[in-house]
């Protein structure tokens, strides 16, 4: 010990302190994740004393359900991808637009930032319920407004065609504040001199946005795209709180993979199948993240 250099000693101490969060993560993250793989190979009923090993049976069942468009599992996967493909781009584009505007103003910019950020720090359950009421048929805020302007009322959450979009809108709205703040931080990193140089060369604002701002925001964009994709893939709390009895309806039009996991595990007590679903979701998240990192992060 006494032969260690100061540098080595610092490293040892760093490892010792890292041991605490590491132990924590191993116990509550890594081990449960690994045990999910194990559970997915069993016919696992949490109430039972012993669990039967069934090999890949749960995955075979999952594959069969995925190919069957009538199955709720199939619908859950389709819906989850819809949430990602609709929600993520809208959220990023809207947040970037707002961030660009906020970057321009100096007066009251803190106030505006706070206004956009408040939903993000509010409990999702509270937000889900307030929006559920806003969306109510007949007497909900939106329908009262529609009537006021002489427009036809809409069923929103009560319609299998509108419910998914109604929920996506809430998620986009709530997550906006976070994306804006990250974009603003990214925008601050772009050196002012680049814009000045572009101006001298005769570039208009549009050109400097495409040629300077966007390329230099690339890291920020990738970071947000990955993060938001993952959070849309894990959609759960909005759906369970905004649908009747949390069933992901009407007609399974809003249900998600994670909601399926929960129902299979705790209503039908089929932990094995539920774990197979989580493993599948894990795989999907992993692949999408790798692809995004590979194709979106380019060097300029």
């Amino acid at each position: 010990m006494s032969r260690l250099t100061i540098r080595q000693r610092q490293v040892v101490w760093a490892y010792i302190f890292l041991l605490v969060p590491m132990t924590f993560f191993i116990l509550i993250r890594i081990i449960p994740t690994l045990s999910a793989f194990n559970i997915s190979l069993h016919d696992w009923n949490p109430l039972a004393a012993e669990q039967t090993f069934v090999g890949l049976e749960n995955y075979r069942q999952l594959w069969e359900d995925l190919l069957n468009p009538r199955s709720v599992t199939h619908k859950a996967f389709v819906n989850t991808f819809k949430y990602v493909l609709i929600g993520m781009p809208i959220q990023l584009v809207t947040a970037l637009a707002i961030a660009l505007l906020l970057n321009e103003i100096t007066r009251m910019s803190t106030l505006f930032r706070a206004i956009f950020f408040i939903p993000f720090v509010t409990s999702t359950v509270a937000i889900a319920w307030v929006w559920r009421w806003l969306y109510q048929p007949q007497y909900g805020f939106f329908n009262v407004m529609l009537s006021f302007f002489g427009l036809p009322q809409q069923p929103f959450l009560k319609s299998p065609n509108q419910a998914l979009y109604s929920i996506t809108a809430v998620v986009v709205w709530q997550g906006l504040g976070f994306a804006i703040i990250i974009f603003l931080a990214g925008l601050k990193q772009v050196p002012e001199t680049f814009y000045e140089a572009a101006k001298i060369d005769g570039a208009n604002r549009w050109q400097s946005f495409w040629r300077i701002t966007l390329p230099l925001l690339n890291t920020t964009l990738v970071y947000l795209a990955v993060l938001q994709t993952i959070s849309f893939l894990r959609m759960f709390d909005y759906v369970i709180n905004m649908t009747t009895q949390g069933d992901g309806g009407p007609l399974a039009s809003t249900t998600t993979v994670t909601l399926r996991v929960y129902r299979e595990a705790f209503s039908s007590f089929d932990m094995g199948y539920a774990s197979a679903l989580t493993v599948a979701l894990f795989g999907i998240i992993l692949v999408i993240t790798i692809v995004q990192l590979k194709f979106l992060s380019r060097d300029y």
Binding site: M1, S2, Q138, T244, D247, G249, A252, A265
Partner: protein
């Protein structure tokens, strides 16, 4: 440098010690000796006190029952066995069970019952599922009768010992629907109370619509006529007061299966519970009858005013099908509601209702320790007596499970509980293998007609096919 390695040593040893403590935590708990208590804190007989509450800006004096804790001396040499009872949180049920536990402990000073009711209804099964693998949880647990097969399959419940709970005694003394707790030739659970469905009507809204507030509908035709007469619309055609919203995810899916299908001449399931039969032509007629309220007569929808139950509580709907347990909810959250209860409308001379119950079973965990098992058996016996049923009906509004207490004249004459009790002899309880999944099939069939324009008979066929798949899977594992 020397002091550095000393520090290092201390830190590493602390880590090791911490790890050791974590590792030993479980075994230490298990090895703890049984506590012999000398004084125990129990709840005294409740007293009635006056409490002033502010309700909508006005102060209201209410009489409230309070229970104080008192210390009771127990002989020091007595071994006290502690058992755990679990149920979900529902105020009246918790009160009623607290009272029963207090009476039981007074009669059985050697048993202490821990009452865990801090579980929201929606999370009840989650908590049970989380507790079982950890080897903790209830010794006696409440469960919906429809969960019995699944819990038995998992080996979570033990069969009720036949010498303590003779099957003949159960068949003779308990409401016939309790037979559904029998599975694979054994009884696995016994209820304190049972429930049936009946029709609630709002007398004020009847008067507003020019109908006799004391003459609720008695048959299916009257129900359809009155529902339309009772519905009020605004100028834009929006429903202001619902005549009759059909709450399929609530209780109406039961009404369809066990009442309407039978009234239209069909049968919901085969006698051996293995085959779905509600998608017969008769069943489809029943389904169309139920759908017509929303799709043709426009008398309301479960989508309005949060849901059908909330609409009735808020005085926004005139007719509502619900169980006797709702009486307690109304007393608590809508005490001023001027309502009546009547037996479910007759259809084609057939009278039927859906019967169901929360029942109590003894778990595998209790059976591991003879003393706990013995205490659990005594406790289960105590909470399923006719007297316990009477305590329960007074607090919760559920009917006593024992026929002796259910046939009580005062109960039958009660204007609110009477119609529910009258339904007991003709009540049917569905044999469920996965209650929430089976409910969802009916909900989806109903929604696909009203929201996606599907053909009613085809939607019902789809539901039946999915449910049959579920039943086949279940029965494949049983003889």
């Amino acid at each position: 440098m020397h002091s550095f390695s000393k520090k290092m040593f201390v830190v590493v040893s602390l880590f090791l010690l911490g790890g050791l403590l974590v590792a030993c935590g479980g075994t230490q708990e298990a090895a703890a000796p049984e506590v012999v208590e000398v004084t125990r804190v129990v709840e005294a007989e409740p007293e009635v006190v006056e409490v002033t509450r502010i309700v909508e800006g006005e102060s209201v004096v209410e009489q409230v029952e309070v229970t104080r804790e008192v210390e009771v001396v127990v002989p020091a040499d007595s071994e006290v066995t502690t058992i755990e009872y679990w149920q979900y949180f529902f105020d009246p049920r918790v009160d009623a069970m607290n009272r029963l536990i207090q009476q039981f402990e007074a009669e059985n000073p050697d048993v202490r019952v821990i009452h865990n009711s801090d579980v929201p209804y929606a999370d009840y099964r989650d908590k049970i599922a989380a507790s079982a693998p950890a080897g903790v949880g209830p010794d006696v647990a409440t469960l919906f009768y429809g969960w019995v097969p699944a819990w038995v399959d998992a080996g979570y419940l033990i069969p009720l010992p036949q010498d303590e709970f003779p099957p003949e005694m159960i068949a003779e003394q308990f409401s016939p629907m309790v037979q559904n707790s029998q599975f694979e030739g054994e009884y696995w659970a016994l209820p304190t109370a049972v429930r049936t469905l009946a029709l609630f009507w709002n007398k004020d809204l009847f008067a507003e619509a020019g109908l006799d507030p004391e003459s609720p509908p008695t048959n299916l035709d009257e129900l359809a006529e009155m529902a339309q007469a009772l519905t009020q619309y605004d100028d834009a055609g929006n429903i202001v007061v619902e005549g009759f919203p059909v709450g399929v995810p609530g209780q109406a899916h039961h009404w369809f299966r066990e009442v309407l299908v039978r009234q239209f001449g069909g049968q919901p399931y085969s006698d051996d519970n293995r085959t779905v039969m509600y998608n017969s032509p008769e069943g489809c007629e029943a389904f169309k009858y139920m759908l017509a309220f929303e799709t043709e007569y426009n008398t309301g929808s479960n989508d309005l005013f949060e849901d059908a139950t909330q609409a009735f509580l808020q005085g926004k709907s005139a007719l509502h099908i619900d169980g006797s347990f709702r009486v307690g909810t109304i007393a608590k959250s809508a005490p001023d509601l001027n309502y009546g209860v009547v037996e479910l409308p007759i259809g084609n001379d057939v009278q039927s209702t859906f019967g169901s119950y929360w029942t109590h079973g003894i778990t595998r965990k209790a059976a591991e320790d003879p003393a706990v098992l013995d205490a659990s058996i005594r406790f289960l016996k105590f909470i399923t007596t006719p007297e316990a049923g009477t305590t329960w009906v007074n607090k919760v509004g559920e009917l006593p499970a024992q026929l002796e207490a259910a046939a009580n004249e005062d109960l039958l004459a009660d204007p609110i509980l009477g119609p529910f009790a009258a339904g007991l002899p003709y009540a049917h309880a569905t044999f469920f293998v996965d209650e929430s999944a089976q409910r969802q099939f009916i909900v989806d069939a109903y929604d696909s007609v009203r929201l996606a324009g599907a053909d009613p008979c085809e939607a019902l066929d789809e539901a039946a096919a999915l449910e049959q798949e579920l039943l086949d899977e279940f029965w494949a594992n049983h003889n």
